[in-house]
C-alpha cells in the first residue's frame, strides 16, 4: 500500500489562529457559556434519573412533575401498551436490522399501518422510523423541480428540512395568515405543481391553524394539501384525528403526517392518505427506504396505543379540562401566554427575555416542575418561551399544585 493512501489530507492552515470549521459556532458557544455563568441549571442537559409515570420523574434526585413531555394522552405506562411491547420483544427480537423495503417489514409493521388506516378512516398508511423522517421524506419526494411548496413561516424544522432536501420552489407566508397564503398561491405560474403544507397545532405557541378556510383556498387554487397533526393526534377532534377532523376537512386533505412520539407514546412517524397512487411512496421516498425500520416492540406498542386512542373520549375531555384550568390560572396570575384562549394541550408562557426565562425555568425545576425552555431560533419572533404541555394523566390537584409553583417561581424571579 502506498504512503499516499495512509496519509491523511493536510489542508492548508486557515487564516486566523485556532480557526476551523467549528468557528462558526462561536457565538452560540459564548451565549451558552454566559447563560450558565449566571448560575442557572443547564436547561438542555437535564437527565431524568427515574421515570415514575407519564407525569412524574426523578430529576437531580428530586421528584418532579412533568409538564413538558408531549405525552398528551399518557400512554407510555399503559398496561396494555407495555404488555404488547414486551410480547413483541420476546417474539420478534430487539430490532429488524433492515429497511422496510428489504427485510424490515414484520407482521407488526403491517398491523401498525392497519391501526392507522382505521384510526383515520383512510386507504393508505405508511410508517416511518421517526416523525421527522415522515415530513422530510414525503415533502422532498412529492415536491420536485418546478413545483411550488407554500408553507407557514412557523413550520417545524422537519418541514423546512423536507423543503431544503427537495428541489421545489419554496414560498413561505406569514403565520396563519389566510390572505397572505392565498395571494402567494394565485401568483404561482400556471401549470406548476403546488403543495400547501400546514400544521394542525403549532407547537411553539400552541395555536391552531384556520384549516377550514386555508384548506378550501388551497383546493380552490389547485394545490395538494399536507397537514402535520403531530400535536393534535389523539386529542383534538371527536375521534382524536386532529384539527382536520375538528375543522371538518378530513376529505379535502391529501396527506396527513403524524408521529408516535407524542400522544401515541413511543417513537416513529407516519403518513396517511387516500391518494390512489400513494403506495409508490414506499419505493420513491429515500428517508423511508434507506434506514432501518422500527423495532418490533415499538410498532406493537404504537398499534396498541393507537387503537386505545380511538375510544379515549373521557381522557380527551379531561385533558381539555386541564388545559383550560392551566391557561385560565396562569392568566389570572398575570403571566403572558401565547394564545388568548386555550387552543390545544400546549400552554406557552412568554418570558421577557432569555435570562429571565432561564431563571424562571431553573426556579420551577427547584420547585419540582419540568417545563420546556424554548428560545430563538426555534421560536417565532425571537421569543423566549416556557412551554407547558399537559397530559390527560395530570390530576385536577396536580394542575393546582403546578399553578402554585408558577406563582412562587414567578414572584421569586420578578416576572409577576
Amino acid at each position: 500500500m502506498s504512503d499516499g493512501v495512509m496519509q491523511a489530507d493536510q489542508p492548508q492552515e486557515l487564516e486566523g489562529e485556532g480557526k476551523d470549521l467549528f468557528s462558526k459556532f462561536d457565538d452560540t458557544i459564548a451565549m451558552r457559556e454566559n447563560l450558565l455563568a449566571s448560575g442557572v441549571e443547564d436547561p438542555f442537559s437535564l437527565v431524568m434519573e427515574k421515570v415514575l409515570s407519564p407525569t412524574r420523574a426523578i430529576c437531580n434526585g428530586r421528584e418532579t412533575i412533568l409538564l413538558g413531555t408531549y405525552n398528551y394522552m399518557g400512554m407510555t405506562f399503559d398496561p396494555d401498551v407495555i404488555e404488547a411491547g414486551t410480547q413483541a420483544l420476546r417474539d420478534f427480537g430487539s430490532g429488524t436490522t433492515g429497511s422496510r423495503v428489504l427485510n424490515g417489514t414484520y407482521q407488526g409493521h403491517k398491523e401498525c399501518e392497519d391501526a392507522l388506516r382505521e384510526f383515520y378512516g383512510m386507504d393508505h398508511a405508511m410508517v416511518f422510523s421517526t416523525g421527522y423522517q415522515a415530513n422530510l421524506g414525503i415533502i422532498s419526494t412529492i415536491a420536485g423541480k418546478g413545483d411550488y411548496v407554500v408553507l407557514d413561516i412557523d413550520s417545524h424544522a422537519s418541514i423546512w428540512d423536507g423543503c431544503a432536501m427537495g428541489n421545489a420552489e419554496i414560498v413561505p407566508f406569514k403565520h396563519n395568515d389566510i390572505t397572505a397564503m392565498e395571494k402567494r398561491l394565485k401568483r404561482i405560474p400556471e401549470g406548476a405543481g403546488k403543495l400547501v403544507v400546514l400544521e394542525g397545532v403549532y407547537s411553539m405557541l400552541g395555536d391552531v391553524a384556520p384549516l377550514k378556510e386555508m384548506v378550501k383556498i388551497a383546493k380552490d387554487n389547485g394545490a395538494m394539501v399536507l397537514v402535520d397533526e403531530a400535536h393534535s393526534m389523539g386529542f383534538i377532534g371527536e375521534h382524536g384525528r386532529g384539527v382536520v377532523e375538528d375543522a371538518g376537512v378530513m376529505d379535502d386533505v391529501d396527506l396527513i403526517i403524524g408521529t408516535f412520539s407524542k400522544s401515541v407514546g413511543t417513537v416513529g412517524g407516519f403518513c396517511v392518505s387516500n391518494h390512489p397512487k400513494f403506495e409508490i411512496m414506499r419505493l420513491m421516498c429515500r428517508p423511508y427506504v434507506f434506514t432501518a425500520s422500527l423495532p418490533p416492540s415499538v410498532v406493537a406498542t404504537a398499534a396498541t396505543s393507537i387503537r386505545k386512542l380511538m375510544d379515549a373520549k373521557d381522557k380527551r375531555a379531561h385533558l381539555w379540562q386541564n388545559s383550560r384550568r392551566l391557561h385560565g390560572g396562569l392568566t389570572d396570575l398575570g403571566f403572558t401566554l401565547g394564545t388568548e384562549e386555550p387552543q390545544s394541550a400546549i400552554v406557552a408562557v412568554i418570558m421577557p427575555d432569555l435570562e429571565q426565562g432561564a431563571a424562571m425555568w431553573s426556579a420551577l425545576l427547584s420547585e419540582g416542575l419540568y417545563v420546556n425552555l424554548a428560545r430563538p431560533p426555534a421560536t417565532p419572533a425571537n421569543m423566549t418561551l416556557l412551554r407547558c404541555s399537559l397530559c390527560a394523566e395530570h390530576s385536577e390537584e396536580e394542575v393546582e399544585t403546578i399553578l402554585g409553583m408558577f406563582e412562587r417561581a414567578g414572584k421569586a424571579v420578578g416576572i409577576i
Binding site: 411550488y148 413561516i153 423543503c163 420552489e169 419554496i170 414560498v171 413561505p172 407566508f173 406569514k174 397572505a180 395571494k183 402567494r184 401568483r187 404561482i188 431560533p377 417565532p380 419572533a381 425571537n382
Partner: protein, 80 residues
Amino acid sequence: MDRATVEPRIRSIIEPFNKKEVAIADATTFAGDLEFDSLTVMDFVAAIEDEFDIIISMNQQAEIESYGQLVDAVTKMVAE
C-alpha cells in the same frame, strides 16, 4: 417596467424596514449592512411581492444579497 421605474418603488418600500437609516446603494447588503433577520426578510419580501404582484421564492432569495441585485431581479421578473 424598466429599472428606473422599479428602483424608486423598492426604495420607498425599504424605508420602514431600514431602522438604522443606512444610506442605501446598489452594494448595500440586507444581512450585513441592513442587519435584516429572517422575520424582517419575510415581511420585506412580502411587501415587494405585493407591490409588483410577483413571487420571490426562497430559492431566488438565496441569490439576492444586495439592494442592486434585488432591483435587478424584480425588474427581470416584472418584464417576464
